[in-house]
């Protein structure tokens, strides 16, 4: 089994390297203020997505379930979900630079999850006995993926706002989508993330009520705190109580909190 894990790690590494190459390729073009070939960029990105997907699929085959048994796998699934959404959003909204920031995030997450010793260990014990728990976990991680792309979108919004306020126009600023596009997408992603997370949490809580040993209390509390936070942001935004840039900062900080807290939560 250890060999099998090692093989899938190689595939995940290949995915990370391809994301990294796509990011470096686009970054170099931006620094040199050159138009970059979207064909090359998306070939690298889709290649990364493919290898990452295959790696996760083969891992899942080991225990016939979603590969969410250790922090490395969780981070990889979040990164993969985000990239899936980015590709879907890119097709419908054609937001320039979303893919660029997406590859940056996936490279960082990939390097982080694969480099930290002790994050990737065989953990068949934590594979899911209850299919509802597995469904809950899959939805929750998908919601994290949505929050990941929401954080990218928020970062782009904040950069565009900064550029317009400080009168910056070159390089990156010249390519960012409009404030209104980013604001619209921020609202939609927030709504989507909260909806998926609500269903995930509902399922998790129901399972906990019927069998309190199946879900750790700390994880449940943490998930509820996270849900309340994102839900509050959504309400404040919808009611126009918070300006979009405050929402942007909150989404960015909250996603960093999600990433930072993954490890301690998983140890419970």
């Amino acid at each position: 089994m250890a060999n099998y894990l090692e093989e899938t790690r190689t595939l995940l590494w290949m995915g990370t390297v391809l994301y990294g190459l796509a990011f470096i390729f686009a970054l170099a073009s931006l620094i040199l203020e050159r138009h970059y070939s979207r064909m090359i960029f998306y070939t690298l990105l889709v290649g990364g997505f493919f290898f990452q997907g295959i790696g996760l699929y083969l891992r899942g085959l080991t225990f016939f379930a979603l590969p969410l048994t250790n922090p490395m796998e969780i981070v990889q699934v979040i990164s993969w979900s985000s990239m899936l959404l980015i590709l879907m959003v890119q097709m419908s909204f054609r937001l320039v630079l979303l893919g660029f920031f997406g590859t940056a995030m996936s490279t960082i997450l990939g390097l982080l999850s694969l480099s930290i010793a002790g994050w990737d260990y065989p953990n068949l014990a934590s594979s899911f006995a209850n299919p509802w728990i597995e469904f809950h976990a899959a939805l929750a991680i998908f919601a994290y993926g949505v929050f990941g792309i929401l954080a990218i979108n928020a970062l782009m919004y904040l950069l565009q706002h900064y550029g317009l306020t400080h009168k910056r126009f070159g390089g990156l600023f010249a390519l960012l989508p409009s404030l209104q596009q980013l604001d619209d997408l921020m609202t939609r992603l927030l709504l989507m993330g909260v909806t998926v997370f609500t269903v995930a949490l509902f399922l998790g809580t129901l399972t906990w009520v019927s069998d309190y040993k199946s879900v750790s209390f700390h994880t449940l509390v943490y998930s509820w705190v996270l849900w309340i936070s994102y839900f509050s942001i959504l309400i404040l935004k919808e009611k126009k109580r918070w300006m979009s840039r405050n929402v942007g900062w909150a989404c960015l900080i909250l996603f960093l909190f999600v990433l930072v807290s993954l490890w301690p939560i998983h140890t419970y």
Binding site: H35, G163, L164, T165, S178, L179, Q180, K240, M243
Partner: protein, 358 residues
């Protein structure tokens, strides 16, 4: 052979004298057809240049061509000689490529010249003035223009105040078709900015002026609505873009006005363009949340930066074109362009497609 004058060789008051009227162009072609020494010709006549591209019989010289041009257009020959330029052989091809690419334009990289260049070619074709050589040179010029715009940043960024303002508005609102615009005052700069916004799809345009008749006059021009000058302060929250160009000694719009306005707009951004000198908006308005204030200096700085970047691209363009110039020149000289005649159908649609938007 090329004979001409442009903004580089002649000042405006001289260029005005050389300019050919729209009726004068067909007359010039008719005269050239009668001249046995001129085998092919294309006249490019714009506000910044008058150029005569021609293929002439051996023995016919520049002086002869210049004399002919001056006689037909009733231009002082000595003055023309002083302010004109001439090119021969391969240099004509490089010049044609450069003009079509916008490298030779006063506003480097502008795309309007591409349309004018195509129009000049089509007019020459209508007058059956073009033959195999100029046909080939002009078609290759269209390709060269597209090549430089695709492979260099010669047309990147906006270089007029109006277009810079429009580009900024698009960075905030994406599509201008649903954006509500208010123009306070008038003047050339405001009208040009309005024209740029209008051409990019702005539809909901409102105009106010101290003199209501002037507001109505401008409103008619842009299918806009005129608003009373006393009424507009109460309607500010309804507008996404406000362009002000009023002659005033002190700002007419203070930050205190905008705090309640922005509260009413509930998180919707507002783009303010101050074209007035002295300024119409108090500088403190920029501190109001969600307000993006740009004055005429800011817009001019962006335009100048873009223009500088484009000028850096000129050498890159020339290097890109040089190889193609050599290739075309060798083809014309070695194979003999007279064997390669191009019919109207040979002109690929892509060559005649509109230039990419600036």
């Amino acid at each position: 052979m090329l004979l001409g004058c442009s903004h580089k060789s002649a000042p405006l008051h001289v260029r005005e004298k050389f300019s050919i009227s729209p009726q004068g162009v067909p007359a010039l072609y008719n005269e050239m057809k009668r001249c046995p020494d001129i085998l092919e010709s294309v006249v490019l006549n714009t506000c910044n240049r008058v150029e005569l591209y021609s293929v002439i019989r051996p023995g016919f010289c520049f002086e002869g061509l210049a004399k002919f041009f001056c006689a037909v257009n009733n231009v002082n020959q000595a003055l023309f000689k002083e302010h004109s330029f001439e090119q021969r052989g391969k240099n004509v091809i490089m010049h044609a490529f450069s003009v079509a690419s916008g490298i030779e334009s006063q506003m480097v990289g502008e795309t309007e010249i591409f349309g004018q260049f195509k129009e000049a070619y089509m007019t020459a074709k209508q007058h059956t003035a073009v033959g195999p050589t100029l046909n080939r040179i002009f078609q290759k010029s269209f390709q060269a223009a597209k090549l430089t715009r695709t492979h260099t940043d010669i047309s990147r960024g906006q270089i007029s105040i109006g277009n810079v303002a429009t580009a900024l508005a698009e960075r905030i609102f994406a599509k201008l078709s649903k954006v509500r615009i208010l123009i306070i005052g008038g003047g050339e700069a405001a009208e040009k900015t309005l024209q740029a916004l209008y051409s990019r799809g702005a539809q909901d345009i409102n105009i106010t002026n101290r003199t209501f008749e002037k507001a109505q006059e401008l409103a008619r021009k842009f299918h806009a609505r005129a608003i009373g000058y006393e009424d507009y302060p109460y309607l500010l929250d309804q507008f996404d873009v406000i362009i002000s160009s009023i002659s005033t000694e002190k700002p007419i719009l203070e930050p205190e006005i905008f705090y309640p306005v922005m509260k009413k707009r509930k998180d919707a951004p507002m783009f303010l363009i101050d074209l007035g000198v002295p300024r119409n908006f108090d500088a403190g308005v920029a501190d109001v949340p969600d307000v993006y204030l740009y004055n005429i200096n800011d817009l001019a700085n962006i335009a100048n930066e873009n223009l500088k970047s484009r000028q850096f691209e000129i050498e890159k363009c020339k290097a890109l074109l040089a190889e193609r110039v050599d290739h075309l020149w060798n083809t014309i000289v070695q194979k003999g362009a007279e064997q390669e005649d191009f019919s109207e159908d040979d002109i690929k649609k892509e060559d005649l497609a509109p230039a990419p938007a600036n």
